[in-house]
Symmetry: C2
Subunit: 565 residues, 2 copies
């Protein structure tokens, strides 16, 4: 069996996930999370909050899922958030053009599929004589907008969309948080929540879905100060970078080197790449890289963009996007809503500004030009004024008109600007799936015995408890259970009437790092066994100490091989 | 100013909430939550999880928001989840009939508005000669389905809806959780997430919205065992009940009394009413009641239903529904999906089952009735068999046919049944708003000085820190800050350059229970001031002890008036 199939089977068997509405045959691209899946996912999200959202200048914003058309028109999503759709002219079956054509054309064409115009797609279909899977003619390519559409209230003119990203709701509230932060930069807002993308024909399990959880941080900075005060904490991290605006290569280098050589465009985006690296390591990811977007694949709002790509059976998969969205969104919303989203910066040194205004000699001009006067005034008003090249006279209706200027001097203390936004954006479902793939393995002696080496940070259960003789230790076991729970340790009791080997195996399958067993000798010697999942090593410790030991193992302060038994 | 307006102003000023897309003029019925709003809401949800979802037999399920039509057709929502819509025939303005008509008709009619048929609404409009607000004629009433509709994928025949409740996604996964719980009853599933209701013309701020967070527990029980093993823990609670199938009255009584007198239909629903009571008390609610649904207002799936109604400026408002949904949903989904959602129960005593089967004498009957034989067999098969009244002969085509029976005896160990569901369902946004209303007050001397007496359980910040002389105590203050954070206490620092009185006032407005001040004497005497929000009492304690004291105050173990200074 292929690995993705094995993983999906395991995830469904243990009810980490299920296909949504599965009893009705399911709908492609929708998944439900069961108890273990919720726990793993919640743990990822909680850890994300700890890493990305716990500073006092980072503020949570939870905005509505349904947005009116105007917002997404302004953001560019109504016009540009599309895939190219092709379809079987006979049976109407639909396909996403770049996915469908990729193994039906040559290498060079393949690489350009996702940036082609509709005409180019049609030409490509003709040139390679591509048919539908049923052998029918393919209809003309069209743009298909990826947002789910709905109607708000009983009137059909009130169009709304399900948000395709949480970011827009954060931008709309920019000004309010700016005020909360005492109008100082930098600061950030973040949201964790569902977003929706109406994929044409989703495949690939949890990697391409129509509804998923996103965790996004929007970090607002002055456009000339794309820095971060904790940059030094990450600058020495060694990264695997895959970069280049047109041709791309992979290279390992220190973050600082990449920033200094302008491969990563600024320290702020550099900081979030470093933080993402640390975050992914702590979750237990082993193999990932940061890939720069090529010039022609950059989103309409971005000026530099890096994806954290994680290695899965499907190749390197984008799970995190770290984009410099510049001032695109705030500018567009300022313009389209008519509400200024401009910030101000107090200048270090006040600036002198000289203002020159043409003096209009109304009396004299009126006498000379009569009812043509308004046209002349309009012309004078539209003159471009340059202090060093003052226009002394202009021609109007065949006559020369002399100009003089009023000069005034102002002291400017603040400067207006539209902030830039650096955005680390995480697809939680993709992290979830690729993490399970990376920590999945099978014991050498037995393909049936699969293990998820989940870190205690995210494992649904951090420790299991069992006893070999039911009843005998119920009280002491329950006491350990309660003590562990009081320390917020995720613990479960397995009292199913199966062999201890099967209890271990079923704990391994759901990634339980440690397992504590009360056995037949526990009553006499007051000791229990702790088993470590990956090595299957076992140690015996006293019941009095077991809670403390488990706590230290889980928080990463203890080392299993060095425990004082 | 009216209280709701004051509250809404405060919530917006401090960015607990904002109108969604407000820079575009906003859309009725949608709100965004800002940092303080997120915190208060998250704290409510987390406390809900602690009270309702922390037992080992309660499992989290997080299902998709978009559901295919088949699911909501089966659940009854496509046909029955409607409001009655009336509209201005001239300008098209739309209204929800029962809301629009309520102050335009007599008392008796008013009480029946929400259960009237379309014809009755039309008659009522005619009888009371009701016009639109612009004085125009009202068009005929129609049903308006309250679900947001959308299309899944590029084909317009794939209709989907945004879920109107989280419950359906839980029912669809019933069988998987039943297996996780080793096929034992009772157990529960729960979801916390967004749900959507396309209200016709939402008014009333946060109380009637189109998108809101719901926390729902579905507790599955055997239909003959609607009990709860922790019932005794709540049975002595005194409740305010408002009940009656047709005429309703309010009465205070002990939970046990209400259950014993069949006012509350069973112990299981009684348990959850008791638990909800405790939950609401702990959140800080003072004035609420449990109201039984009248016979004609019960949802299509419910057989007993109680609302926890909380007193607000809008009257008693439904914030929690506790329904006995019986086996309605699982039956419908079994039937419509063709997947059995039946459970089995091992019988205490195996049951003997006698089976009687008519013996068909094919040879003899074939000879007698020839090609009419199949009709005869059909007739015999459809006979109702009663052991005590066995039919010995039947008439067929004018002839008498004698019948004999084969008797067999089976031992039945299990019984099939469709579980019943008891559902406590919480509207988090409504709890949020009505909590703020109930804890809002103004200091007697100054209407401008509003206070939110939020309990430390849910207050966005549990303690504030400030110093009167900036700089001097920065290190010690930061040290206290970090120690409090380590204990997971929600703390903020206010170093804004305003008077201490204004710092206190702004903390009062957002409900901070305690405030610690480093003042000019702190350096010499090593003491700081703790101020209690509601009484404004102040005590001085040593810096060494302040973290411990705050912790004890917040966890409810300490008493401010008795602190040993």
């Amino acid at each position: 069996m292929q690995k993705p199939q094995k993983i999906e089977n395991l995830l469904k068997k243990k009810f980490f996930i299920s296909q949504s509405s599965h009893i009705y045959g399911g709908v492609a691209g929708f998944f439900d999370y069961g108890p273990l899946g919720c726990s793993l996912r919640n743990n990822i999200v909680n850890y994300w909050r700890r890493v990305f959202a716990s500073e006092p200048n980072i503020y949570e914003v939870d905005s509505s899922v349904i947005l009116p058309e105007a917002v997404l028109k302004a953001s560019g999503h109504v016009d540009k958030f599309c895939d190219t759709l092709i379809f079987d002219e006979v049976n109407g079956e639909c396909f996403r053009a770049d996915h469908y054509l990729k193994d039906k054309v040559d290498q060079e064409t393949c690489e350009r599929l996702d940036v082609m115009s509709l005409d180019e797609i049609n030409e490509t279909i003709a040139r390679f004589d591509v048919k539908s899977p049923s052998g029918n003619k393919l209809g003309n390519a069209t743009h298909f907008n990826l947002m789910f559409k709905t109607f708000i209230g009983p009137k059909s003119q009130n169009l709304g969309y399900l948000r395709p990203e949480t970011a827009q709701g954060q931008f709309l509230n920019f000004k309010k948080v700016y005020e909360l932060n005492n109008e100082k930069f930098p600061f950030g807002t973040f949201s964790v929540g569902k977003v929706f993308r109406n994929e044409i024909s989703p495949r690939g399990g949890l990697l391409r879905v129509r509804e998923f959880e996103q965790a996004e941080l929007e970090f607002f900075v002055h456009p000339d100060e794309k820095v971060h005060d904790k940059y030094d904490e990450v600058k020495d991290i060694e990264l695997t970078l895959h970069f280049g605006a047109e041709v791309q290569n992979t290279k390992k280098m220190r973050l600082k080197e990449a920033v200094d050589n302008q491969i990563i465009k600024n320290r702020c985006i550099g900081y979030f790449i470093g933080l993402t690296h640390n975050f992914l390591k702590a979750l237990g990811f082993v193999d990932f890289r940061f890939r720069q977007h090529k010039r022609d694949e950059m989103a309409h709002y971005a000026c530099d963009c890096w994806d954290a790509e994680i290695l899965t059976s499907y190749g390197y998969i984008e799970c995190v996007g770290i984009a410099d969205r510049s001032c695109y969104d705030l500018s567009m919303h300022s313009k389209c809503s008519g509400t200024s989203l401009i910030a101000q910066k107090r200048l270090d040194k006040p600036k002198k500004e000289i203002k020159l205004e043409p003096l209009c000699d109304m009396k004299e001009w009126g006498r000379r030009f009569k009812d043509r006067l308004p046209v002349l005034l309009e012309k004078v008003k539209s003159l471009k004024i340059d202090e060093n090249k003052l226009i002394k006279q202009i021609e109007f209706d065949g006559q020369m008109v002399g100009l003089e200027y009023k000069r005034s001097e102002n002291t400017i203390h603040v400067e207006d600007f539209i902030p830039s936004v650096i955005e680390p954006s995480f697809g939680i479902g993709r992290l979830f799936y690729s993490l399970v793939e990376q920590v999945y393995w099978e014991r050498r002696d037995d393909e049936e015995r699969s293990v998820l080496s989940l870190s205690p940070v995210v494992a649904p259960y951090q420790v299991g408890l069992t006893s070999l003789r039911v009843g005998d230790y119920k009280k002491r076991l329950n006491n350990v259970f309660e003590q562990l729970r009081l320390r917020n340790i995720r613990v479960f009791v397995n009292e199913r009437n199966v062999s201890i080997g099967r209890r271990y195996a079923s704990a391994d399958e759901i990634g339980v790092p440690y397992f504590v067993t009360f056995d037949s000798e526990s009553a006499s010697d007051g000791m229990v066994t702790i088993r470590e999942r990956d090595s299957m090593d076992q140690i015996r410790v006293s019941i009095e100490k077991v809670v403390e030991i488990i706590d230290s193992l889980i928080t990463g302060n203890g080392d299993f091989s060095k425990i004082n038994k």
